[in-house]
Amino acid sequence: MMDATGFLIIGNGEAAPMSELPAVPFEILREALAAAVNSGIRLSALPVFQPEGGGPLRMVCVLAFPDIGKFGLLAADLADTFPSLTPICPAAHWFEREIAEQWGLVPEGHPWLKPIRFEAPRRPHPKGVEAPAIGQTEFFNIGGDESHEVAVGPVHAGVIEPGHFRFLCHGETVHHLEISLGYQHRGVEAAMTGGPGPRSIHYMETLAGDTTIGHTTAYSRMVEALTGVRAPARAEAIRAVAAELERMANHIGDLGALAGDVGFLPTQNYCGRIRGDVLNLTATLCGNRFGRGLVKPAGVAWNMDEEMIADISRRLLAVQKDVTGAVTLMFDTPSVLARFEHTGALDAETARRVGLVGVAARACGLTCDARRGFPYGMYRLAQLPISTWHSGDCFARAYVRWLETRASMDYVLDLLKTLPADPVSREPGQLAADHLAVSLVEGWRGEICHVAATDTAGRFTFYKVVDPSFHNWLGLALALRGQQISDFPLCNKSFNLSYCGHDL
């Protein structure tokens, strides 16, 4: 469907023929994007691909229209240099760096054009420029009396994924934090091209291992959009149970870790253990604590019988009691609040302009949640609250996690009483040729956007993954401005972004 604004309008998890994707001159795309972001529409993804049969590279601008809960798509062919979109849409900042790195194109006028992953380019550079080795790039500098820089990583002091952080400081004050990633790059997107194959689902399971349900659900819904074979209702319900268990486990773990970062050990210890209890519920469902092997295209691999439903409900009630005690203890402790409040604050306008998603955005008061705004699967039948807070600081990011944990527990306990009837899977079909689709899922960190297109043989021409971390790393950098380095662990944990989800 094409609307008056010139965009191809498609729903979440709907496919459209490639021939319906409007291709316009780049200047028109740029103007349309500027008009859209000025009216509160968000940039969700910006894939670039090589069309079948050669020719210029093509950019697809994927915009999320919150009022109608649909996507607007617009394409343009790219020259080797093009006017940068970032000055008119700061949320394009990271996307354009990605495009420049992968394809050797130059968005002219980009404020800080440098690699984000240090990955092998997707094609030989038009001017023969060699790709730099990891970390070999320019960084911001700071000069003058009492100014200094602190470099940390890639190997960190905890059991945590690798990334490189540079703090630019004057005295005790951090003026800016520059984040340089790419250490986790495994080549997922390139390996998905030409798929789906036997490993596709496993790439999705391990894309960001703590978001297995989120990414496998986004992928499965993508395949379902392109094959036209939908998952049965009971499978959608089981996916929702697993997705909310994933959200709870991670949020509870984060609340505990936040307590640990301000030295409040009781809640740290209790939540560390309770998080494991939630992971064990997922393991009861599918045998694996992270939900490996559960979600697959056109269904789920495991069903639940009455005995399992009763068992999980009973154990979840125990979790509810334990976690309520552990977390309210933390939020009722003044010394904890004194560290959480006003630390790492972002305002709503900044969050909107840089395109934050998920918990970090809702903690600034933005009401974005794909479960409500772009409902899919079981969430079309549910009215989960959008949990927001207004202060944009570490407290807000902690408190939104707690509000969401409570809502998820209530929702799962309710849903388990009313699961739809069997079956839980169907036989997946063949992917339609020459189609494209967008699949949006609200993972526990925020929106997960997958965009893919198929060629004439029904194989993926490209498979674009946008993990919520891709949008949010810049938010962490901005949150640290004016703080002290000692606030970094707390701020970092309050975002808790994925390195591998970003690096792909």
Binding site: E119, E161, H202, G209, D210, L329
Partner: protein, 252 residues
Amino acid sequence: MFRILKTRLDQKYRTMAYPAGPPPELPARFAGRPVIATGCGSECLLCQAACPTGAVTMTETGSPAIDMGRCLFCRACEAACPEGKIRFSGEHRLAACLPGDLIVSPESSGIANARNEVAAKFFSRSLKLRQVSAGGCNACEADCNVLSTPAWDMGRFGIQFVASPRHADGLLITGPVTENMRLALEKTYAAVPEPKIVIAVGACAISGGPYIDHAAQNNGAGGLVPVDLSIPGCPPHPLSILDGLLRFLGRI
């Protein structure tokens, strides 16, 4: 203050009795060590074709063998076998010192040796590990982290993750070792004082896992640093990791 004490009482004592007592019960759907029945005379090779990582090979006797170092425990081979010769058991003891001991066939017997003489001699009562995630997806990392929580409490055995390689007795590596982490891993290894040990946790760190033969990674840590213990899984259950560490140190 009273509230903290009351909450402490409400949360109870949670550290498990294992290894003195029984290990925690694993869920019925848990996929542990595969069991391959003898007498596969078929040449259908469906199990081999179904495996996403090339973990299934055929032995000289015509039976399938599964390399747990490559295995994602996804059960695809189990589902593919028309004769039901492959089954994933609830056995959590998966760790092995020698890569060859990770291969399960109808002829292989029992649980592999995981005891390391250097570790048992020097580190049996105090093992400090520097964890290096080198392309790990944060699942192996999370289930290593969980061993420090009260329920598992591996500090009971003197095992602890430390913040610097200079303080460490060895490395615990996760991830397929991305090309972008290779130098960092080599430098971290060099910074650990001798005698030192290396433990690879998860299919990625042992073989590359789902990323085997991708250009952006190194098919695990084994080609870059000497690996003394491999703990298979995707990710391994915390019980498999703890069992591997304790047997490595000769504690059980």
